[in-house]
Symmetry: C2
Subunit: 393 residues, 2 copies
């Protein structure tokens, strides 16, 4: 149930002292035979040093290893911050080379998460890399330790896996969107032992991310460090060397990403409800996503759900701010199965809606086409305000 | 200091019983000689019945009177709701005609604010119209009563005026954006006794609204009922009958709108800070507005300000989500005069920033041009969450 579930990977997570308590440096190594990799990075203009570095590393779609740290985002830290990332990759490459591998720093991906605008504590981080290399393990324990080391305000580590006859996909993730600001960022690493080309891996990852991580929108904020990395070793004993069944692989990868996404939203800081906003009957999938996202980003809707108030007026108000083409008089809205808005007006009795459970299902039927999309989000709570205002920087 | 400040207007505000306490029906009449009018309405697809009605009324840029009510938005109420608006306009026209005026219902603007998705209590509203007509007064008291009658969760009424040699501009407003959801909506009515053509009035109003009401973004939500109406009587004793100095008029109208906008943001429900997000050095004014609005809509930024934390990382993160073209390494950010971010990285000591006062000034210099724009917003507080979750619908 982690990044070491597929063959060909070893991992470790150690306590280097970058944050006040707990593991904070993780290393994951792909032992091959293939070292294929693909990634999706934040589109934030203020991309952090590790993002800038890792984009270069992955320009040849190949990586030997990734080093990840919590306790500092290394974002908005200028050329010095970039040098810190470079030095971290160098250190991991050196350490791995002493074990007999021939690893270049330019084949080491780096991910960081934590406070923006502060330099990393390199005196703690570099020895942490050494220790992690010494503890590398292909066991489940190694993968779990790595998943723990990337946690920030996550209440528990997040791992997932899907096993198929010819390959396995494993994964770990931390943090949902910018839910936990200073200590922000969504990081995810997917591993597989499938035989798959870099181009196929890249295509599968983009397809999977588009409908999973990119459909989670906890508080509308995007981090400077968001990274989703996929690595393929081709080491499965029953690997199909003619190449993996791409549809089967895409489904498995999407399954792992969906599982991790759901875990992230369920653990979103300060949230009392996990909300699925599904829009159907849209002219296009992009339109459906736009409508669901508009609702998911409405603070009035999110506070209403916190208050267990099935306020469909706030839902329609948010839907109506989009430029999607539909007939307002044809829109129906259900909350937890009760159609409280019909034809853009009053529907069933809103008191029939039960919002006591954590899970909330909002269904918006635009009556304007056949496309649909779902966005996962959270409610807006006192705890959210507290966590994000009282957090001392 | 209200809509009756200019010559040619009378107003009243009465208690009709649409809400649990206080005045809730206002009438404002333009006695001419001109009955010119212009308006800017919400762009929400679920525009309320009074918005749909008033758009038709103003298609000839002329109105005799406006009737406004709190205690019900008459939004998402279908054909029946539209009939209620029509009946309200009919009633006011009839009542005014009994006083000797020749008023058609199709020359009566209607504005409503309150809960979405419920029919108006017409048995209370229509007698309220009669009573308001009986109490119509050109005095300041009449204007103040009208301003009180449109309040929902506003803690006090909002009025403003600017006097010039040849004309006066007066105004009243309620509610900031969708700050107070169920009881939502921004409504504003501007009056003037200037001699001005309908086309000139329309152009001046659009210019004024663009840089005032449309630059206030308290919580990112847009109501189904937002309306800004301007009415011109041409009744000033020293009116320049060759036509008003347009620049002078635009400046005066913009001044009144800016004054009301500031009052709305200062009284935004649950807010502890009024925040001015000013972006300079942008490639275009639209870019500057985009950047300021992105920051103003960041829940992480808004909670940080509530916590008196000058978290420039959250500001850069929000700026970086836009597609505006700039060099991240050239961006400087000051909060309350302290340049805590320089060159996209660490600047002056953040502990120098004092955020104890209500007013907060964020200055973002993109270093990418000469354009600028300012968005007014509020922080995200426990009181905001409370007001918008505990409010019973």
């Amino acid at each position: 149930m982690s990044v070491t579930a597929p063959h060909g990977f070893s991992a470790a997570g150690v306590t280097a002292g970058l944050k006040s308590s707990g593991r904070d440096v993780a290393v994951l190594v792909n032992h091959g035979p293939t070292k294929h990799a693909a990634a999706v990075f934040t589109t934030n203009s203020f991309a952090a040093a590790p993002v800038l570095w890792s984009r270069q590393v992955l320009s040849d779609a190949r990586t030997d290893a990734v080093v990840l740290n919590s306790g500092g985002a290394n974002a908005c830290t200028g050329p010095e911050g970039f040098q810190d990332t470079h030095a971290t990759a160098e250190r991991l490459a050196e350490q791995l080379s002493t074990t007999g591998a021939d690893v270049s720093a330019t084949d080491v991906v780096v991910c960081s998460t934590g406070l923006i605008g502060e330099r990393l504590n390199m005196e703690a981080l570099l020895p942490g890399v050494d220790q992690a290399v010494a503890e590398l393990s292909p066991t489940a324990a190694g993968g779990i330790a790595a998943a723990e080391a990337i946690m920030t305000t996550d209440s528990h580590h997040k791992v997932a896996e899907v096993r198929r006859e010819h390959f396995t996909v494993g994964g770990m993730a931390k943090g949902a969107g910018m839910l936990a600001p200073g200590m922000a960022t969504m990081l995810a690493v997917l591993t597989t032992d499938a035989v798959i080309s870099p181009a196929e891996l890249d295509a599968a990852l983009r397809k999977a991310v588009r409908v999973t991580f990119n459909r989670a929108d906890s508080d509308g904020c995007m981090s400077t460090n968001d990274t989703v990395l996929a690595m393929a070793s081709g080491a499965h004993p029953q690997a199909d060397h003619a190449g993996v069944d791409l549809t089967e692989f895409e489904n498995a990868l999407t399954g792992v990403c969906a599982d991790l996404t759901r875990q992230l939203i369920n653990d979103a800081e300060g949230a009392a409800h996990t909300i699925e906003v599904r829009t159907v009957g849209a002219p296009s999938e992009a339109d459906a996503e736009t409508v669901s996202r508009a609702v998911a980003r409405s603070n009035l809707f999110k506070t209403a759900i916190f208050g267990q108030d099935p306020n469909w007026g706030r839902i329609l108000s948010a839907v109506g701010t989009t430029e999607v083409a539909f007939d307002p008089g044809a829109v129906n809205v259900a909350v937890n199965g009760v159609w409280i808005c019909r034809g853009g007006g009053i529907g069933e009795d809103r008191s029939l809606v039960d919002l006591t459970e954590r899970g909330v299902h909002v269904l918006i039927d635009l009556g304007a086409g056949d496309a649909e999309a779902t966005i996962l989000t959270n409610d807006l709570t006192h705890d959210y305000v507290h966590e994000n205002s009282a957090y001392s920087t």
